[in-house]
Structures are given as structure tokens and as C-alpha cells.
């Protein structure tokens, strides 16, 4: 019985997503919307392009993106290979500098590197913290240095759609090739939503690391740790099932025996108002928020029990395996 409930949650989220993407498809079929996409990409491109870098590791050439003025780079784990490695970095204008690789997550292909201090801020972009928003059908654009840095050619842009989202990756029809690895995938707000990771035979099969593994393992990666596995399933385990109440509030429908939620005193009928500082309004958002947290993370639930608000700290656990 305990295992039925979490699976049900996932199914609900899936259905919601499917309905949304069908509705969106209808409005994208006119020329005006294609031209709107073009205008948005062309507006964002000059803003984000200076933060794209080419990475030369000695073993090959790849890409990356600067996401802080202090020079933190997101790239792919198979690009840097291990922590503490010196890498050569070529900026968009062709100037050359160096960086050191920090930690990486080999299971998901996420990695961080740190540019050396240059005495002034680095050009940077923001990353999207709302991983769940990158849904199938959304337009996006990719930048990178396919085949390596080429000054005359410059960065190579691709515009396409998200084809699929998984726990740790996004699939798009922005066509990638060797040298793009580690480069950024952007949403139309100019935020990084993916890091180019791998390709399959078909042109619609281009795989990017989503922001989920980066957000989940941020501190470990900054501390130059190598993450080889990260527990079972998708992120941390709380142990509650939710439903939307008659008042259209997010309500606890079931609490699994022995789960972190039960140990922390979460009860059936509690209304979930927030997780940490984020307000929660629906099941999909709640599931996604918990999924971005790792086992061992402390989250604070804001609940309303019998009309009174209370804060409940819960330390997430490993998701129980089938049959346990």
C-alpha cells in the first residue's frame, strides 16, 4: 500500500502536463507566433552571448556558460572529467583565460568550473530555478561552439522546441554536435534551462542536462565533490500524497507510515501553503519542488492545521525501494 500513493502523484502530474501542451500547440500555428519567437530570440541573443565560452581541455574542445559575475561556469561532467583540472577558456570575443574544474555529477553529466579572478565582473546569465516550467512544446534556443571555437564563424545559434523533460534532462530538437557539449540551452527569457550533453542518431534527439541536478547538488559541486550516484529515484523523499481540496487548496491526502513527513508530524488534512520560502498552489509544483531536493536536505513546510499556520522542518530521506 505505501507504494501506491507516490506513484499516483506522479501520474496526476503527468496528465496535467499533457493537457497543457496540447492547448499550447494550437496557438503556435500561425506565422505571427513564429515571428514573435524570432523577435524574442533576437532580443535575448546579444544579452546572453557574452556569457558563452569555449572550453579546451587538452583532450578536446567543448562549451560552457558563465552564470555568475564571480566567474562560475556550468558545463558537462564529461567535458571536465574530474575536479581540480586546469582548463583553457575562450570567451565570445576570442580572448583566452583559464578556469579550474570544481565538482561534477557523473550520473547526470552536470559539472561546475571556476574562472580565475580578473579583477572585474564576468558577463553572466541567470539560470532558471523553475525546472518544471521547461515543458514539451516550449520554444528554446541553444548556443555553443560545434567543432570548436571559430572566430570568423562565432557562436552557433539554434532555435527549437523542448520535446521531453525527464528527472534530470531535457530533450529538444535544437540540433547539437561535437564541441557543443557543456553549452547552454536557454528559455525565451534568456535563462539557462539546460547544458548540452549528448546526441542520438535522430535530429530530434538532442539531450541536455536540466537544471535539476545542478540545483540539487549545488553545494557538493561547489565543494569540488564527485557525485557518482544520488540515491534512488528522483530526488528527496517526503512521504505525503496530496490532493486539491474543495476549496482548491493543496491538501495532504495521505502520510506514509515511517516516512520523514510522518516523523515530523504532518497529518492528513493539513493544507500545504509553502515549501521553504516558496508558496505552493498545486500538486505539480509541489512534486517538482520536492524532486529538486536531495535526500538529506532540510525543507521547511508551511502548513495550516485546523485553521492555524505552523512551520514544520522535515529532513528528506532516500526514496524507499520497491518492496521495502
Amino acid at each position: 500500500m505505501p507504494h501506491f500513493v507516490p506513484r499516483f502523484l506522479r501520474l496526476t502530474a503527468t496528465l496535467l502536463v499533457a493537457l497543457t501542451s496540447v492547448a499550447e500547440a494550437a496557438e503556435q500555428n500561425d506565422l505571427a507566433s513564429l515571428l514573435r519567437i524570432q523577435a524574442e530570440v533576437q532580443k535575448r541573443l546579444p544579452q546572453v552571448r557574452p556569457s558563452l565560452v569555449a572550453i579546451q581541455t587538452g583532450g578536446g574542445t567543448a562549451s560552457g556558460v558563465i552564470i555568475s559575475s564571480t566567474g562560475l561556469i556550468l558545463t558537462a561532467a564529461h567535458v571536465v572529467d574530474k575536479p581540480g583540472r586546469d582548463i583553457r577558456v575562450v570567451l565570445d570575443d576570442g580572448s583566452v583565460t583559464t578556469a579550474k574544474s570544481l565538482g561534477l555529477d557523473q550520473a547526470t553529466d552536470a559539472a561546475l568550473a571556476q574562472l580565475k579572478d580578473r579583477g572585474k565582473p564576468w558577463p553572466s546569465v541567470n539560470l532558471s530555478r523553475e525546472v518544471v516550467k521547461a515543458q514539451p512544446g516550449e520554444w528554446c534556443f541553444a548556443l555553443g561552439h560545434p567543432g570548436g571555437f571559430d572566430k570568423a564563424r562565432g557562436a552557433v545559434l539554434r532555435v527549437g522546441k523542448i520535446v521531453k523533460q525527464t528527472a534530470n534532462s531535457l530533450h529538444t530538437d535544437c540540433v547539437l554536435m561535437g564541441g557543443d557539449s557543456g553549452g547552454p540551452l536557454f528559455n525565451l527569457a534568456g535563462e539557462v534551462i539546460g547544458i548540452h550533453s549528448q546526441i542520438w542518431e535522430n535530429r530530434d534527439q538532442n539531450v541536455h542536462v536540466s537544471m535539476a541536478p545542478f540545483l540539487r547538488s549545488w553545494e557538493a559541486m561547489q565543494a569540488s565533490q564527485v557525485i557518482k550516484t544520488w540515491g534512488v529515484g528522483a530526488g528527496g523523499y517526503l512521504g505525503v500524497a496530496t490532493r486539491m481540496s474543495d476549496a482548491v487548496e493543496l491538501e495532504v491526502a495521505d502520510v506514509i507510515d515511517g516516512s520523514p513527513a510522518q516523523k515530523a508530524g504532518v497529518r492528513v488534512g493539513d493544507v500545504i501553503l509553502g515549501v521553504n520560502s516558496d508558496a505552493m498552489t498545486d500538486q505539480q509544483q509541489f512534486t517538482a519542488t520536492i524532486k529538486t531536493k536531495a535526500a538529506g536536505d532540510l525543507v521547511t513546510l508551511l502548513l495550516r492545521t485546523d485553521g492555524k499556520e505552523r512551520k514544520v522542518p522535515v529532513t528528506l530521506a532516500q526514496r524507499p525501494r520497491e518492496g521495502e
Partner: protein, 367 residues
């Protein structure tokens, strides 16, 4: 999960540093697919965008249906006399003048033009231009065709939508200007062989010690340990001589190669390709590219775009979404790159050739 997801590409590997100093390892590998570790998620399939809703899916392309009409009307196909597709063509004169990719159609007597509605016509070659890799021809007996309506490329910038047609059924395809407008330097032609630099003691020929992946040599069936005796009837005794002979030719040209295999003399016809791509793809670094053109470089001016096209779509028109033809697709280069010649680079010159052909100088009476 769909079956497609298990179809993995081969892994990249280090190119041979000796033969390919320019090639570097491109990082974007296909390793063990990440999904296999998420057993808990396997039962609930994730929503996948149906193919018809993707960037080049039917539903998205509804938006360009009307604007694609002028593009489709001035595009035609070149096919062999048996109906095998060769490449695409752009109609540039209502009286049957067309342009196509010269290196894909080396002999116009062996091919014919096929219009969208199905009519075919023989081609009369008028002018072959190596710099642009274009050949101007006239379709014999055709008139009142829809010719390309050329527009300027100066205002095009990164991210601008473009449209071309693909395949025998000439379906529209969209993509964007993806990189800087620039000159593409040429680096000559290549066979795709690595040779023994020492002249053999037996004093005959040049020994092959390696063959590049997907190269002209591989396609023609040449193998390591074959000893090349002559290329295009010129005897070779040193590897430098092979370079000299090959380098003065163009990608797309055929050369006859005579060679010794296990003591027996044999010969084959090799169709040369651009040296740059042969070297960069020495060990298949540019995998899953869907095929590339034989000639991919040496263009005085090129637009780069990301429309998903095939090598056999080269020679066809490239248009903006307001229906103006801004160029001719000239090379499928790799998985992400297509080059197009911008109209300004060739059109003035081509018009002169068309005019000269329409109004030939009157024959001078012999004195």
C-alpha cells in the same frame, strides 16, 4: 520509452594526431543512457512532444504553408536518367534557366530536370563556375516557369527564420540564420587515405596505411595495404605526388585510381571530397550528421543556417518568411550546418551569362 531512445550513436574517439593535426576531439558523446537508472519512473511515461508539433513538424509548418509557395514554385530536382535523386535546382529564368550545385552534377548529359508537377526536361549546360560551385543550364523545351524572386540578404541577422524545401516531395523546412555571414576558405580535395611516407624498396607505388571514415577512398573500396600505382593516369611513386595530383582537382570530381592488392593490379573510380571535412571527420568525429556534401568549402561568401536538409537538397532556393529568395543552398556541412550562397555574391555574374546566352553575338561573316 520508445524504441528510438535505445538507438545510440557510436562513441567519438581521438583522431590520429599525425594525419589530422587540425582535427580536435569534439566533446559531446553518447554514453550509457541516463534513463536506465530511473526504475521508479519507468512505469509512468513522460509526455513527449508529438513529431507533428516539433519545429519542423506538420502543425508548426502550417504557419509557413503560404509563404513557402514561391519557394516551392522555383525549386526543382535534378535526377538521373533512371529517376534517382541527384540534387536540387533553382529556376532563375522563365525560359528554363536553372542553377544547381556543380560538384553534385558533374555531367549534365547524364541527368535531367524534374519540375514539381512532374514534367522532366533535358539540360543544356551554359556555364560552370568553380568558385561558386554553381552550374547554369537551360531546361530544353520548357517555358513559362516560375523563376526565383530574389531579395537582399543584408538585413538578415542571427535568429531570423528561413525556409527551404526538402526531399523529392519538396516539403517545406524551416530554420534560422545560425552564425556569421562569411567567406569559407577552401583547402582542396582529398581521397581520405594515410600513406606510407617512405618510398617502398620495391620502388613501386605508394602504400596506403589508413583510410578515413566515410571518406571517398572508403566509399570506393580502397583499403590499407593497397599500393597506389597511378591516379588519373599519372604514375605515383611518392606520397607527395599523390597530394599534388589530388589537390589540383575539385571536390566532386572523379579520379581513376590504379592499385596493387595482394600483388594483383586493380582499379577504381574515386569521387573526391573537401579536404577539410575528410580530415575533421577522420575517425567519424562528426557522427549522426545525416550525410554531408562532397564539397563543403572554398566559397567566396556564405550564409550559415540550421534548416535540417540533406546533401541532395543542395542547389535549391533559400527564402525568408516573406517569400523572397535570398540564396541558394550550396553545402550540407555537418549535423548543424548548411551553407547558402547569398544572392548578391553570384546573381550579377549569372545574369550576364544568361543574357549572353539569350542574345549570342551575331556570327561574323568570314572574310
Amino acid at each position: 520509452m520508445t524504441k528510438d531512445e535505445f538507438r545510440m550513436t557510436k562513441e567519438i574517439s581521438m583522431p590520429n594526431a599525425q594525419t589530422s593535426p587540425r582535427a580536435s576531439r569534439w566533446l559531446l558523446s553518447a554514453f550509457a543512457i541516463l534513463h536506465s537508472s530511473f526504475s521508479l519512473l519507468a512505469e509512468s511515461p513522460r509526455p513527449t512532444l508529438p513529431p507533428e508539433q516539433r519545429t519542423n513538424g506538420k502543425q508548426t509548418l502550417v504557419a509557413v504553408g503560404k509563404v513557402a509557395q514561391p519557394v516551392l514554385a522555383c525549386s526543382a530536382r535534378i535526377e538521373s536518367l533512371l529517376g534517382r535523386p541527384v540534387c536540387a535546382a533553382t529556376i532563375v529564368g522563365i525560359d528554363g534557366y536553372i542553377l544547381t550545385k556543380a560538384s553534385e552534377a558533374p555531367d549534365l548529359e547524364k541527368v535531367r530536370l524534374k519540375l514539381t508537377e512532374g514534367r522532366t526536361a533535358e539540360l543544356r549546360e551554359i556555364h560552370r563556375d568553380v568558385r561558386f560551385d554553381l552550374v547554369l543550364a537551360q531546361a530544353v523545351g520548357l517555358s513559362k516557369l516560375r523563376a526565383a524572386n530574389f531579395g537582399a540578404t543584408r538585413s538578415l541577422s542571427h535568429g531570423q527564420w528561413l525556409c527551404s524545401s526538402s526531399g523529392a516531395s519538396r516539403e517545406p523546412r524551416i530554420g534560422i540564420i545560425s552564425a556569421n555571414h562569411r567567406q569559407i576558405p577552401g583547402n582542396g580535395a582529398a581521397l581520405g587515405i594515410r600513406m606510407d611516407e617512405k618510398a617502398p624498396k620495391e620502388a613501386q607505388g605508394v602504400r596506403i596505411i589508413g583510410i578515413a571514415t566515410d571518406s571517398p577512398a572508403e566509399a570506393a573500396g580502397l583499403q590499407a595495404e593497397d599500393v597506389i600505382l597511378s591516379i588519373a593516369d599519372e604514375p605515383v611513386a611518392q606520397f607527395k605526388r599523390v597530394h599534388e595530383i589530388v589537390n589540383k582537382r575539385q571536390p566532386g570530381e572523379y579520379v581513376e585510381v590504379r592499385y596493387l592488392r595482394e600483388g594483383k593490379e586493380e582499379s577504381c573510380r574515386v569521387r573526391l571530397a573537401s579536404r577539410t571535412k575528410v580530415i575533421q571527420n577522420w575517425e567519424g568525429e562528426d557522427f549522426a550528421n545525416g550525410g554531408i556534401s562532397l564539397r563543403t568549402d572554398g566559397f567566396p561568401d556564405a550564409l550559415q543556417h540550421d534548416i535540417p536538409l540533406a546533401p541532395s537538397d543542395m542547389g535549391g532556393p533559400l527564402a525568408t518568411l516573406d517569400g523572397k529568395i535570398v540564396g541558394i543552398n550550396i553545402a550540407r556541412v555537418d549535423r548543424v550546418t548548411t551553407f547558402a550562397l547569398p544572392v548578391e555574391s553570384f546573381w550579377t555574374e549569372i545574369q550576364q551569362w544568361i543574357n549572353a546566352d539569350r542574345h549570342p553575338p551575331k556570327a561574323q561573316a568570314a572574310e
